[in-house]
Amino acid sequence: MFSFNYHRPESLEAALALASAGEDARLLAGGQTLIPTLKQRLASPSDLIDLAGVPALRDIVREADVLRIGAMVRHADVAASKVVREAIPALAELAGLIGDPAVRHRGTLGGSIANNDPSADYPAALLALDATVETDRRHIAAEDFFLGLFETALEPGEIVTAVAFPVGARGAYEKFPNPASRYAMAGVFVARGEGRVRVAVTGAAQGGVFRWSEAEAALETDFTVEALVGLALPAHDMIADIHGTGAYRAHLAAVMARRAVERLLGEVG
């Protein structure tokens, strides 16, 4: 690990001041990706700004038709939250599938989306549920937030404060975890709202999370598993590595999409 300065500010204002002052400051949320990255010397920030001391980022609040989850809310908290389970059960379920229990006790929503790992689970939920990322200075639609592999719309020094999820659509997330790492080989979140269907795929594509518009159109016309038959994702856009070829991941994503649709159809109501 390269050396760095460590700060634990107690307010968002103090964190922002530090983030803009450091020459190469990095925000530290749960650290479940950043700490291993530092250990491998893949990053050498001048300053680490630990957001653990900012209490305002830890709330889960339901306001009429919006569920707002603070950036520092941990995966375990989302998975266990009664408020989340009632508002968007699929979101709680997704959080309970991230990493393993010990990782879920540290990892956070804000940390996951700010990192935008192509195999992370949360980005699929944000994209399919049409969530809004709230930062210290603006609101960014999920659509405009995830720009590509480890790339987001965040500017230097900008801090994610919360994510606002519209309540109303019913969702289902199906994930095929890598047998060793438990990261998604392909994860598909299907959300069904009033006449609208959104299908977001994570884990599979080289460019990170994306919406499968062809599947969305087919499901909007006919919300059945059969509607997806014959639809295929382009294998050359998919991640190809020792764990699987692009064609394998494209196929896996289609299978996960079918399972998610099946799950939604099987639910009562």
Partner: protein
């Protein structure tokens, strides 16, 4: 070097450390609590599992400075040689180990599983909850049995202690 303070196994500790020190190294090298093991060092194997403020975490993915002010519990703090923790006793009784390297992390995970899922555990629950703890001897069968038995014993122990109160 920053001055670090936390509670480890019920005792207040203070030390000057390098800011880069991981929690697992702080426990092992500064405090000489070597029951917490370094296995993979990539947050996958769970041999370094300790409890931080009552919850299982991987001590190789936490900086010691992040634990400033926290309550840490390691395998050394769960029981004594004279009176093992019910989960330790269950691992002994069911031989929930082969080489034993992963055992401290497994026991810390097992206690955490019981905390979250109660003292009556299903095999499937334990197997899925153990996905962050790797036994490279692949001897999961006895480990799962031990955790189910240990959780039940934890329930009995707390029932007994309530009855005694």
């Amino acid at each position: 070097m920053p001055l670090l303070s936390m509670t480890v196994n019920g005792a207040a500790v203070t030390a000057e450390i390098d800011i880069r020190m991981l929690l697992v190294d702080f426990l092992r090298e500064e405090l000489r609590l070597t029951g917490t093991h370094v296995g993979c060092d990539t947050s996958q194997c769970g041999a370094c599992t300790v409890h931080m403020d009552g919850e299982a975490v991987k001590a190789c993915a936490v900086l010691a400075v992040q634990a400033e002010g926290a309550r840490i519990l390691t395998i050394e703090g769960v029981g004594t040689l004279a009176q093992l923790h019910p989960m330790q006793e269950a691992f002994r009784e069911h031989h929930g180990l082969q080489c034993g390297f992963c055992t401290p992390g497994m026991i810390m995970a097992g206690i955490d599983i019981s905390r979250r899922h109660g003292t009556e555990l299903e095999v499937a629950t334990v197997r899925s909850e153990l996905e962050g703890n790797i036994c490279r001897c692949t001897g999961y069968h006895n480990i799962v049995t031990a955790i189910i038995s240990g959780a039940r014993a934890m329930g009995d122990a707390s029932a007994t202690s309530h009855a005694a109160e």
